[in-house]
C-alpha cells in the first residue's frame, strides 16, 4: 500500500480535502466531486486515499472503489510528470492517430496506459477532446498539439524534457 499521506505537503492537501468534504451539503451525492478534488490535489487515487475519502463521507470503501474503477478519468496509479494523451476520437482515427501512438510507444518504450521508468511520461489514450479541426491531436498535460505527425513525436518529447530540465 502506498503511503499517500507521506507526499510533500500532504497535511495541507489533506486539510483542503477535509474542508471541501465538510462544505458538501449532501455527502452521498458528493462522492464523484470529492474524488475529483482528491485527484486534483494528490495526482491520483491510491487505495489508502480512497479509504480515507470513504471514511470521511461515511460510505463503504467498496462503493468508493466501485466509482473510482468505473470512470476512466480517475487513476489509481501514479502518473508521470507528463501525461501524453493521444486523442482517440473518430476524426483523429481517420487522420492516422494510430501511427502517432505507435511512434510515442516506440520512442518512450512503454505501451498505452504505462509510465516510463524514470517517472517522466505516462502514455495514454483519451476519448475525443473535441478539437477535431486540429486532428490528429495530442494533449500533453494541458497543452494541445494539433496536426501531429509521427515526425513530430521526438520534438514533443524533447520539449517536455527541456521544460523539466533533463
Amino acid at each position: 500500500m502506498s503511503d499517500i499521506f507521506a507526499q510533500e505537503n500532504a497535511l495541507e492537501k489533506r486539510a483542503e480535502l477535509d474542508a471541501f468534504i465538510d462544505s458538501q451539503t449532501s455527502k452521498e451525492d458528493a462522492i464523484i466531486s470529492v474524488l475529483h478534488k482528491a485527484q486534483s490535489l494528490f495526482g491520483y487515487l491510491p487505495s489508502d486515499l480512497q479509504l480515507y475519502v470513504a471514511r470521511k463521507l461515511g460510505v463503504p470503501a467498496a462503493r468508493v472503489y466501485g466509482v473510482v474503477s468505473f470512470y476512466s478519468y480517475f487513476s489509481q496509479k501514479k502518473r508521470g510528470d507528463f501525461t501524453i494523451n493521444i486523442c482517440m476520437g473518430t476524426a483523429c482515427f481517420v487522420k492516422g492517430v494510430d501511427k502517432v501512438m505507435d511512434e510515442f510507444s516506440n520512442q518512450l518504450g512503454v505501451k498505452n496506459g504505462e509510465t516510463t521508468e524514470d517517472g517522466l511520461f505516462t502514455l495514454k489514450d483519451v476519448r475525443c477532446i473535441g478539437a477535431c479541426g486540429l486532428a490528429p491531436v495530442v494533449m500533453v498535460n494541458e497543452k494541445v498539439y494539433g496536426h501531429v505527425k509521427p515526425e513530430d513525436v521526438s520534438k514533443i518529447i524533447t520539449a517536455c524534457k527541456v521544460q523539466k530540465g533533463v
Binding site: V67, Y71, Y73, F74, M88, V94, R127, C128, G130
Partner: protein, 597 residues
C-alpha cells in the same frame, strides 16, 4: 505599392488548385501585362471561398462579381470584357439550380444562406464572460416573457407546437418531455442539462457552453418554470475545463442580476443551477445512467419505465435535455412556434448543428436547417474532400450510427431519413471518409470504443460487443471466415434486441451498416486476404514495380526489417513474408516504383 483600382481574386483553396486555379492566376498576370494593365489591376490568390463544387472561382473586387467554373480559356475574355470594357461576362456567372437565375453578387447566392444559426446564434459574436453582451442580443428576454406573461402550460404548449426534438440523439419531443415531467405531483422536480458530450467527433455542446453559456442557463430556467422545478443541474465532462469555467462565471453573473435565485422577475419563481462533473464514461450520456452518476454512483443505466420524467434524480420527476436542445429554446419563446416550424422538414423542425470533420477541406461546426442534403454540407459548406480524393462514406451518429454512401448523398437529412438509411442523427458528429479508409477497420474502431465503454451491467452488451470486436479483429488480420459474417449479423441483431440501454442497442449499428453497404470490403478481407484501402496493416503488403525501379537502393536502406533485396542499378524485390508494411520504402522511393497495397 501604388493602390490598384481592382482586385482579381482567384481561389487558392485545395479544391480550386486541383482544377488549375494557380495556372489561372499566372494567365491573368500574363494577359494584364500584355494589355498594360498590370499597375492598375492586382491579381490575388485567396483562401478558400468554400464553394468548391463550382471551382475554380474568381471574384472581382470591389465590383463584387463572382465567376464560377473559370477555365484558362476564359481568362482573356474576363480581362477584355469585364476589366477593360466593364461588362460582366454573363455565361460565367453562377446560376441558381432551382431558379436558373444568374447571380452576379455572391452575397445573393443561395449557398451562402445554407447555414442558419439558431443554437450557435451568439457563438463567436459575444464575449461569453460578459452577461451584458448576452442581454444586448435579447438575452433573458425569453425568460422574462415566460415567467411574467405565460403560464407554465403555455410555455410547454409553445415548445411542443414548435416541434423541437432532442438534439442529443433520440429526437424525442422536448415539449412532450416537459409535459410528462410537469404532470406527476411531487414536492420537488429537477431540470438536468446533459453536457456529457461523449460521442467521438462531436463538439457542438462544448462550443455552445464556451461561446454562449447564458443561452443554456436561460433555457434551463425556462424549463424549470415550465415543469415546476426550482433546481437545475448541469452534468458536464471534466475534460472540458474551459466550458466549466465559463459556465461558472455565467452562473455567478446571472445570480448577481437576479436572473437566477429567488423571485425571478418578481414573479415568485425561484430557480438555481449547480454544476456536477462527469468523470469519463460514455454510457453517462444515457439519461438513467447520467442520473446515477449525478447521485454519486457508478453510471449504470436502469430499465425504463419508470422514466426520469416520473422517477429521476432523487426519485423525483426529472427532465434531462441536451445542451443544443436548450440553446434552441430562448429564440423559440421569443419568436414563436410558427417561426421555428417554418424551418426544417415535416417531422424535424428547426436546425441541427453538425461537427464536420475527417477528410473534408473545411472542418468546422455548421448549423443547417433540417432537410439540407449531405452533399450540400460536405461539398458546398465543407469544401469537398481533401486532396481531391474520392468520397467513400460519411459516418453520422458516432458509435450508435452507421455509414452513408455516395448513393444517399442527396437525401435531405432529418431524424427519420437518417434512420431509414441505417444511420441516425445522434449528437451530430459527421466524419467524412475517403478512398483510403477501410470500412471494416472503421467498424472495428467503433466496436473497440463501445466494448470498452460498455458498463458491464447487461450481458448482451458486455459480452456481445466484445465478441463482435474480436471477430472484426480476426477479419482485419486476414484470419476471418465466411461464417464470421453470419456470426456478426446474428450477434448484432441479438444485441440490438436485448441490450438494456441505448448504448448496447445501437452498438452493432456501425457493423451492420458497413456489412450492408460495403459487403465487398468484408469479402476482400476474408476471401482475398486483402484490404482494398490499404489500412489494415496485417493485410497490406508493398510491391515494387519492376518497370519503374532503377535500383537506387533507397528502399533497401530504409527498410527496418531488411526484407528488400537487390543489387545497385538492378530491380529490387520485397520479401512479402517478412514485410511489416511500415511504408518506409514507399516514402523513400523517388520514382513511384513502390506500389502501396
Amino acid at each position: 505599392m501604388a493602390k490598384q483600382r481592382t482586385h482579381i481574386m482567384v481561389c487558392g483553396g485545395t479544391g480550386c488548385v486541383s482544377s488549375q486555379s494557380l495556372e489561372i492566376v499566372d494567365k491573368f498576370k500574363e494577359v494584364l501585362i500584355e494589355k498594360d494593365y498590370q499597375d492598375e489591376i492586382a491579381v490575388i490568390k485567396t483562401g478558400c471561398f468554400g464553394f468548391c463544387g463550382q471551382g475554380p472561382i474568381v471574384k472581382i473586387h470591389p465590383d463584387n462579381v463572382f465567376y464560377v467554373k473559370v477555365t484558362l480559356d476564359d481568362v482573356r475574355e474576363i480581362v477584355e470584357e469585364h476589366i477593360i470594357k466593364g461588362r460582366t461576362v454573363g455565361r460565367l456567372l453562377y446560376k441558381e439550380p432551382e431558379t436558373k437565375k444568374t447571380l452576379p453578387k455572391h452575397d445573393d447566392m443561395g449557398f451562402y444562406k445554407k447555414q442558419y444559426r439558431i443554437a450557435l446564434r451568439n457563438c463567436g459574436l459575444i464575449n461569453p464572460e460578459d452577461i451584458n453582451e448576452y442581454i444586448a442580443f435579447s438575452g433573458y428576454e425569453a425568460l422574462g416573457k415566460a415567467v411574467t406573461e405565460l403560464s407554465p402550460d403555455q410555455v410547454i404548449d409553445l415548445v411542443k407546437t414548435s416541434g423541437l426534438r432532442g438534439r442529443g440523439g433520440g429526437g424525442f419531443s422536448t415539449g412532450l418531455k416537459w409535459e410528462l415531467t410537469r404532470k406527476p405531483p411531487a414536492d420537488e422536480k429537477y431540470v438536468i442539462c446533459n453536457a456529457d458530450e461523449g460521442d467521438p467527433g462531436a463538439f457542438m455542446d462544448r462550443s455552445i457552453l464556451e461561446g454562449d453559456p447564458h443561452s443554456v442557463i436561460e433555457a434551463m430556467a425556462i424549463a424549470g418554470y415550465a415543469i415546476g422545478a426550482s433546481n437545475g443541474i448541469v452534468y458536464i465532462r471534466a475534460e472540458y475545463p474551459l466550458a466549466i469555467k465559463r459556465l461558472e462565471i455565467a452562473l455567478s453573473q446571472a445570480r448577481d442580476y437576479g436572473l437566477l435565485g429567488k423571485d425571478i422577475f418578481e414573479s415568485g419563481f425561484n430557480f438555481d443551477i449547480e454544476i456536477k462533473l462527469g468523470a469519463g464514461a460514455f454510457v453517462c450520456g444515457e439519461e438513467t445512467a447520467l442520473i446515477h452518476s449525478v447521485e454519486g454512483n457508478r453510471g449504470e443505466p436502469t430499465k425504463k419505465p419508470p422514466y426520469p420524467s416520473v422517477e429521476g434524480y432523487q426519485k423525483k420527476p426529472t427532465s434531462v435535455n441536451n445542451v443544443e436542445t436548450f440553446a434552441n429554446v430562448p429564440p423559440i419563446v421569443l419568436k414563436g412556434a410558427e417561426w421555428f416550424q417554418s424551418i426544417g422538414t415535416e417531422k424535424s423542425k428547426g436546425t441541427k448543428v453538425f461537427a464536420l470533420a475527417g477528410k473534408v477541406n473545411n472542418v468546422g461546426l455548421v448549423e443547417v436547417p433540417m432537410g439540407t442534403t449531405l452533399r450540400e454540407i460536405i461539398y458546398d459548406i465543407g469544401g469537398g474532400i481533401i486532396d481531391g480524393k474520392a468520397f467513400k462514406a460519411v459516418q453520422t451518429g458516432g458509435p450508435s450510427g452507421g455509414v452513408i454512401t455516395a448513393l444517399d448523398l442527396d437525401t435531405p437529412i432529418d431524424y427519420e431519413s437518417l434512420k431509414a438509411i441505417g444511420s441516425m442523427m445522434g449528437s451530430g458528429g459527421m466524419i467524412v471518409m475517403d478512398e483510403d479508409d477501410c470500412m471494416v477497420n472503421i467498424a472495428k474502431f467503433y466496436l473497440d470504443f463501445t466494448q470498452d465503454e460498455s458498463c458491464g451491467k447487461c450481458t448482451p452488451c458486455r459480452l456481445g460487443t466484445k465478441r463482435m470486436y474480436e471477430i472484426l479483429e480476426k477479419i482485419t488480420e486476414g484470419k476471418g471466415t465466411m461464417e464470421d459474417i453470419d456470426k456478426l449479423r446474428s450477434l448484432g441483431q441479438t444485441i440490438k434486441d436485448s441490450a438494456l440501454c441505448g448504448l448496447g442497442q445501437t452498438a452493432p449499428n456501425p457493423v451492420l451498416s458497413t456489412l450492408e453497404y460495403f459487403y465487398d470490403e468484408y469479402l476482400s478481407h476474408i476471401v482475398d486476404k486483402k484490404c482494398p484501402a490499404g489500412a489494415c496493416k496485417a493485410l497490406s503488403k508493398y510491391k515494387i514495380d519492376p518497370e519503374k525501379c532503377i535500383g537506387c537502393t533507397a528502399c533497401a536502406r530504409v527498410c527496418p526489417v531488411n526484407c528488400i533485396e537487390g543489387k545497385p542499378k538492378e530491380v529490387h524485390i520485397i520479401d512479402e513474408s517478412l514485410c511489416i508494411a511500415c511504408g518506409a520504402c514507399y516514402t523513400a522511393c523517388r520514382f513511384d516504383a513502390v506500389i502501396k497495397p
